[in-house]
C-alpha cells in the first residue's frame, strides 16, 4: 500500500513494480515472517529473468521503506513491525467540513499585531522579541461552530502577513499558498473547555475538547504556531497505518 503505491490491475506492471508488490505481499500476508531471509539478488534475478540492477532497485526501496533489512555478505531479512507508525493526514478545515457535506463558513474574531511576549516566544520557539501577528478565528460547519483557532504568525518570517486582514481567507490556506514549510510538529491532546472556548464553540464549560497544536518551520525559522480546538462530538482524527520501520 503506502510503499507500493496504487496497484492498477489493468495496466501491465513494470518489472520493478511486480517484484516490489510480490515481495511485500508475501511479507504482509505472513508467508515470509519477520526474520525470514528473502531470496538473494541473484536468485530473484533468475526468478524474474531480469538484471541484478532491477532486483537491487526494488530491494533497496523495500529496505528504505523499512520492510526488510539488508546486510552484506549475508542476505536480506524481513523486519518485524516495530513502532505502530501511522500517517495522520491533517487537512485544511474547510476540506474536512465540506467532506461532511456541510457548508463551510469562516469568521475572523480578532487580530493583533504586537511585539512578541514571553508566552508568544515560548509557543513559537522564538529567540528575539520580534513582531508577531496574533489571530483568533472560528470555523463553522453549517450553523454550528466546528473549530476554534488561535494562531501566532512570526512576522520576521512572513512579513506580508502584516498587511493581510484575514477577513475573507483563513490564515491556514493563506500561509500554505505562500510559505514553503520544511518541518512541523503536532501535539494532540484532550482538554476541558475553559469559558472562552466554551463560548466560542457553543458548548458547556468543562466539556471535553480535542486540541491539535501545530508548530511550523521554514528552513530553520519558526513560521507559525496554531492551536485548533474541536468540541468532542464534532471531530475525530483518522490515521491510516504504515506497517514497517523501527
Amino acid at each position: 500500500m503506502s510503499i507500493i503505491g496504487t496497484m492498477d490491475v489493468g495496466e501491465p506492471l513494470s518489472l520493478h513494480q511486480r517484484i516490489l508488490s510480490d515481495i511485500s505481499e508475501r511479507i504482509l500476508s505472513g508467508a515470509w515472517a519477520p526474520g525470514h531471509r528473502i531470496p538473494f539478488e541473484h536468485e530473484l534475478t533468475a526468478e524474474y529473468k531480469c538484471s541484478r540492477m532491477t532486483v537491487n532497485k526494488a530491494l533497496s526501496q523495500l529496505a528504505k521503506a523499512g520492510m526488510i533489512e539488508r546486510v552484506r555478505r549475508t542476505g536480506s531479512f524481513v523486519r518485524r513491525p516495530q513502532s505502530q507508525a501511522a500517517v495522520l493526514e491533517i487537512h485544511d478545515i474547510r476540506i474536512e467540513v465540506e467532506a461532511l457535506g456541510l457548508p463551510y463558513c469562516y469568521e475572523r474574531v480578532a487580530r493583533h499585531k504586537r511585539r512578541s511576549s514571553a508566552e508568544d516566544r515560548a509557543l513559537l520557539e522564538l529567540d528575539s522579541n520580534g513582531p508577531v501577528l496574533a489571530l483568533e478565528c472560528r470555523h463553522f460547519a453549517g450553523k454550528r461552530p466546528f473549530a476554534h483557532e488561535r494562531r501566532l504568525i512570526n512576522l520576521a518570517a512572513v512579513a506580508e502577513a502584516a498587511n493581510e486582514e484575514f477577513h475573507a481567507v483563513a490564515p491556514g490556506p493563506w500561509l500554505i499558498a505562500r510559505v514553503p514549510w520544511s518541518a512541523a510538529e503536532h501535539r494532540i491532546r484532550a482538554v476541558a473547555a475553559d469559558r472562552h472556548i466554551a463560548a466560542a464553540l457553543d458548548i458547556e464549560a468543562g466539556a471535553p475538547c480535542l486540541v491539535v497544536e501545530r508548530r511550523t518551520w521554514s528552513a530553520e525559522h519558526p513560521v507559525t504556531h496554531v492551536r485548533f480546538t474541536y468540541a468532542a462530538e464534532s471531530h475525530t482524527l483518522v490515521a491510516r497505518f504504515t506497517p514497517s520501520q523501527g
Copy 2:
C-alpha cells in the same frame, strides 16, 4: 529528513545522497518555489559530473516522495505542499511510560472468551459470529493509572490467543510479536470519562480523556480492535511532519 534520511555530516555522502539533499534543501528553503522547473536530468548530469542514471534515481525518489512532479518531454516541477500529512508514531505503552522515566506496570482486569456479539462484530468489522477474546487491562506509570485498554481479539485470526491468560504480558506486544499485520486504522478523539473509566483511571467522571482506537488487519482478516483511554493530563500524542505529497 523523512525522505532524505539522517544526514551524517561526517561521512562522505554518496552522489545519490548529495543530489537528493541538495535539491530538497533548495525546495524546502523556498529557493525553488512550488511550480519552479528544476534543471533537466542532462543539466544535473553536467552539474554533478555523473551519469544520467544517478540523477534519474535521485529525481525518481523525490517524485515518489511527492516533492516534485515529473512530466515527460517537459521537465520536473516543484509541487506545492498539499495536505499536512504527519507521521504519528504510536508506540507500545510500556515504552511511552519508560520514556517518562517512570516504572511501568501492567494489570489484566478481565478476560472473557465468547461468541462475538453484534457490537463485537461492529468493532472488529467481522462478518461471521466466530469466537472472540475480550480483554480489559490497565497500564500504570509508577503508582498512577496511565491508560485503560479495552481489546477484542478475533480468535479466528489468532487462535493461540485463546490459550494465553495475558497476566504477565500485555496483549499489544504479544500480538505484535506473533501476527504480521498489514493494515491498521486509528481514530483519535476526546471524550468525557464515564463512571467505569473514571474509576479505572482514578479521575473524576466527566473529566476529559484522550481516546485512541486502533483496528488491525492481517491480510484481509480483522485481527484486533483496541481502545486506549488516557486521562487528559497524562498524555499528548506527538506527530512529526512530512512536507510533501497530495
